[in-house]
């Protein structure tokens, strides 16, 4: 394997968060962004073709090694721990925030029809959701959005990578 690819592979491997092209550029001083991206593409394809236990994936604006999705039960057996668990209520709340951000808590509650205080706290603690600032309307309510960790957790490259929202036809007139 050529040296550049080997270096990039090692760097992605040791990082505990997805590594961005910008970080790689900063480390590999004389290498162009294009060369880095193309080495990453090569690596991703090689792991894909090989079909082993690990894969290189593009997530949250960076690159990260992850286990294959068919191997979940084996990994959980090794870890001997319960998988990360998001309740349906947390998932619904997260969906509203992800698609509607920046969004106020009152708006989330209007859509879901329930109080979301406890759930919001949980999502903030898990760092899937963040306070983005305040809305410039009377009372200046706090607005929320999703985090980089959200993208990482759901394996999304960017927010635009979210599946399209299937809106239901509204009433006529």
């Amino acid at each position: 394997m050529d040296k550049l690819k080997a270096i990039i592979e090692a760097l992605v491997f040791v990082s505990d968060t997805p590594v961005t092209v910008a970080v790689l550029e900063g480390i590999l001083e004389d290498v162009s962004k294009k060369e880095i991206s193309s080495a990453l593409d090569d690596l991703m394809r090689e792991y894909e073709e090989r079909g082993g236990g690990i894969f290189l994936k593009e997530v949250a604006g960076g690159y990260q090694f992850r286990t294959g999705e068919t191997l979940t039960s084996w990994v959980l057996k090794l870890k001997g721990q319960k998988p990360m668990d998001l309740s349906p209520a947390a998932m619904e709340t997260l969906a509203v925030i992800a698609y509607r951000q920046p969004v106020m808590k009152s708006e989330i509650e209007r859509v879901r029809g329930v109080d979301v205080s406890g759930i919001m706290r949980g999502l903030l603690e898990k760092n899937l959701v963040r306070i983005m600032g305040r809305k410039n309307v009377p009372g200046r309510p706090i607005i929320y959005g999703t985090t980089r960790k959200f993208l990482e957790t759901f394996g999304l490259k960017a927010l635009s990578d979210l599946p399209t929202l299937r809106e239901f036809k509204e009433l006529e007139g």
Partner: protein, 239 residues
């Protein structure tokens, strides 16, 4: 808090809208033309069972019960003349809109749930925590939530709950104070009019004035005036 009784019992429904969607699906009726009497009856039955089981029912379930009853009674009433003239509005309209919106996000949530979630379906390497010290390193992006949590922790530890009392006004004043000090560090000297002149909002004007007073009181800035009624100049007090 997640340990409220109704949440334990009602965890099959994520709220009143979810229960309503369930009833619509169960009865195989058209969401755009809900048979309101039937659905209201069944909804009330669910509510009554929950009450009979002595469950602490979330207020939202009762609010929707009231809404349903209201819609039902409006549909029984003959339309008033006014309504007949300007094409009578369907009393169910708002509820249907709400249900459709909720349904959209409920499905979006299922979509999220089907993704390969890190820590549930796929895994990255476990990293033992390494602490590297040094000041050349960039700081991690931190959420405000962590900062507020830290502030709350402090007040719990010391039992000084008075420090919790911080309002928007106080923070806005700090903002203005910071802006003024920033400006002075950059430009060395400012006049009163420099600071007040650009201000068009009354709110901002008041905060600017209060900030100047506070800074003078703390002797962080000094004000000079060459001649009576001349321009007031402000500088950082320095050492």
């Amino acid at each position: 808090m997640t340990d409220r009784a109704y949440e334990i019992k009602l965890d099959i429904f994520e709220g009143p809208l979810d229960l309503l969607l369930y009833l619509i699906r169960k009865n195989e009726v058209d969401i755009y033309d809900i048979p309101i009497a039937l659905i209201t009856k069944q909804y009330m039955e669910y509510i009554n069972v929950m009450k009979a089981l002595n469950l602490d029912l979330a207020g939202e379930y009762l609010v929707l019960a009231a809404t349903l009853t209201h819609i039902k009674s409006r549909m029984l009433l003959p339309p008033t003349e006014d309504e007949e003239e300007e094409e009578e509005a369907d009393p169910r309209e708002e509820l249907v809109r709400q249900l459709l919106e909720y349904k959209t996000f409920k499905e979006a949530a299922l979509g999220l749930d089907r993704m390969d979630i890190l820590g549930r379906d796929v895994f990255s390497r476990d990293h033992t925590f390494e602490e590297i010290e040094g000041n050349g390193q960039p700081l991690r992006e931190i959420g405000i939530f962590e900062l507020v949590e830290a502030f709350r922790r402090v007040s719990f530890q010391t039992g000084q709950h008075d420090i919790m009392e911080i309002d928007v006004e106080k923070i806005s004043l700090s903002d203005r104070i910071n802006d003024i000090v920033d400006e002075l560090e950059k430009r060395g000297e400012l006049t009163f009019t420099d600071l007040l002149g650009e201000t068009d909002s009354r709110r901002r004007l008041i905060y600017t004035f209060l900030a100047i007073l506070e800074l003078m009181k703390l002797r962080i800035i000094k004000a000079y005036q060459a001649v009576p009624y001349g321009a007031i100049r402000i500088r950082l007090a320095g050492e």
